[in-house]
């Protein structure tokens, strides 16, 4: 009995001190929380709020509910551009998923071969373009593909493919593919590095066991290594998705805000910029811009949610 009462005393003693929030924790957290909340979370929420308003010429704003979204999705002046940008963005994303992540996976497989000489040199050099500004990369490729300079056609001619060359960035049919491949060229280092790190983490015993059991290199890849790096492929996919649906710099640098020819390289980022700031004869509209941004936010959130609740959960169940 005495033991019980004795041990309950310190507990009641502790409760009042713990219920007061320790001041040093608040001091450590405050700067990060304030800057992050004011300049990141608040603008996002305020953008969503603004998307429900409409402004007139005098600058006065009135609440219009979902009218802006209705305009965006159905008004012929807006919806054509919106759906075009969304469609182009999906193509942009699909090309990255297949080509960028495919090449990244291939390079990572080669680099993770045991006892490969010069592996770190290859890794460092192949990753290099990723470090440069998208704008610089855009200009570099614009020069490379410029028919005036003629580097691309003469190189193609050297390998016997000269007839394939065309003004790829200027043609409506090839501009989007070309821009996507330029972006793929720059960012292939990221999936390469992430997948390489995941491959290194696979214990050698597993691979040896599979080889001893008579699995060839192809079966080892398909049945042992690939399932084990699926979570990383999931991370790579969602990173690609968010980056692609947020892209702007490359198109703006190469094709300008109008994303020509004839909007064939227009993606949501450039569409958002034009809506917000205006172009040529159209006046920019902050509230319509906010509506486009909110639509992009919804698209990105849908992607992230699909990843978190669909892909990631299933993958974790699969691997462990």
């Amino acid at each position: 009995m005495t033991d019980l009462t004795a041990s309950s005393v310190p507990v009641t003693d502790v409760v009042p001190t713990r219920s007061r929030f320790p001041i040093h924790i608040a001091v450590f957290l405050a700067p990060a929380l304030v800057i992050y909340s004011v300049f990141s979370i608040y603008p996002l929420i305020d953008t969503i709020r603004l998307s429900l308003y409409a402004g007139d010429e005098t600058g006065a704003r009135s609440f219009v509910g979902f009218q802006n979204f209705h305009t965006l999705l159905t008004d012929p002046n807006w919806s054509g551009q919106f759906w075009n940008a969304l469609r182009n963005n999906l193509i942009f994303f699909a090309i990255h998923m297949v080509v960028q992540n495919g090449i990244g996976l291939g390079l990572a497989m080669l680099l993770s071969l045991p006892r490969l000489t010069g592996g770190s040199v290859y890794r460092t050099l192949i990753f290099l373009p990723t470090m440069l500004s998208v704008v610089i990369i855009g200009f570099i490729w614009q020069l490379m593909l410029n028919p005036l300079w003629g580097i691309a056609p003469s190189l193609l001619k050297a390998v016997g493919l000269g007839s394939l060359f065309g003004p790829w960035l200027g043609q409506e049919s090839t501009a989007l593919l070309t821009v996507s491949l330029i972006s793929v060229w720059q960012f292939v280092g990221i999936p390469m590095m992430l997948i390489y790190a995941a491959l290194l983490n696979i214990p050698d015993d597993l691979l040896d066991a599979a080889t001893v059991d008579g699995a060839g290199p192809f079966s080892v890849f398909w049945f042992v290594r690939l399932p084990l790096i699926l979570p990383t492929l999931g991370v790579v996919s969602i990173l690609t998705f968010v980056a692609n649906f947020n892209a702007f710099d490359l198109i703006y640098a190469i094709k300008g805000a109008l994303a020509g020819p004839n909007f064939s390289t227009d993606i949501l980022g450039t569409f958002f910029y034009r809506t917000f700031f205006g172009f040529q004869l159209q006046v920019g509209s902050p509230t319509m811009g906010a509506a486009v941004a909110t639509a992009m936010l919804v698209i990105i959130l849908i992607g992230v949610l699909i990843y978190l609740f669909g892909v990631q959960r299933r993958l974790q169940r699969h691997t462990f």
Partner: protein, 275 residues
């Protein structure tokens, strides 16, 4: 087990891809030092006694404030990095070291910024900066970049702080050292290796960004180097010497820094990925 022809094919493929990755950059660098005639007559040749010229660089320096843009980029990037590391480490420390109500909720709240791009809030950010009278200032850029970089930095630094042995802080606490001194004198010096990792994820996007300089600080001599090059090339699009020189000036510092520190950057990237 290793078959020689197979290895040769592997190296062949890797060398081929490395050439594809570096070729365009290399071509820009060599042609920036050649005369206009040589740029077109022999684009693949190295500059020699006859073709060597720095006229492009002279024109860039004469017609734009490249030094200033470079200084702006440097200021924004370094101040942002210092703030992100310092403020981020403080928050990461609080979230990993102390158990308190709302800890998990706060961690989740901070994680939103990893997945949701802050760019989508640009309409409101610009409005806010106009009201605060911060348009065309480097302060506006720094504030936005710190807010953008914090979530990932807190995640990385938190994992790093967890690996620091508990004995260190417990010993300090027994000696009656205050929580502030434990953080600033013991923890902060210990996390300096993590700065390389944080730098990969925060500095590079900040240095290279076009979007926020374009909407928040497009003029008044507050352009960053990325925006400066974009504006310069837009104006001098037909002057090949000047265009190539401006691209070279933008590439060179990043190239030098990357080759110097690539070991740490690559290690940071792969280590961050494993977690």
């Amino acid at each position: 087990m290793t078959i020689r022809p197979g290895r040769i094919a592997v190296h062949f493929a890797l060398i081929l891809y490395t050439i594809l990755a570096l070729g365009p950059i290399f071509l820009i660098l060599i042609n920036a030092f050649k005369t206009r005639r040589a740029i077109f007559a022999d684009p693949l040749g190295l500059p020699n006694g006859q073709t060597w010229t720095t006229i492009g660089f002279d024109r860039v320096f004469a017609n734009s404030d490249f030094g200033l843009y470079f200084f702006n980029s440097l200021t924004v990037t370094l101040v942002s990095l210092v703030l992100i590391v310092l403020i981020g480490a403080m928050a990461a420390w609080a979230l990993t070291e102390y158990r308190f109500r709302g800890n998990t909720l706060l961690s989740l709240y901070l994680a939103i910024g990893i997945m949701v791009p802050i760019r989508l809030g640009s309409v409101s950010i610009l409005r806010m900066m106009v009201e605060l009278n911060l348009v065309n200032t480097l302060t506006a850029l720094i504030l936005v970049y710190v807010a953008q970089g914090l979530p990932l930095a807190i995640l990385i630094l938190g994992e790093f702080i967890q690996q620091i042995p508990k004995d260190l802080r417990d010993a300090a606490r027994c000696d009656g050292v205050s929580e502030y001194r434990i953080f600033f004198s013991i923890i902060l010096p210990l996390i300096s290796p993590a700065i390389a990792t944080v730098a990969v994820f925060t500095m590079v996007p900040v240095w290279n960004d076009l979007w926020f300089p374009l909407i928040l600080a497009p003029g008044d001599g507050k352009q960053t180097i990325t925006l400066g090059v974009q504006q310069f090339i837009g104006q001098y699009v037909t002057d090949w010497n000047a265009v190539l020189a401006s691209l070279t000036l933008a590439i060179a510092p990043v190239l030098v820094l990357y080759l110097l520190f690539s070991r740490y950057l690559v290690r940071g990237l792969t280590a961050g990925a494993v977690k």
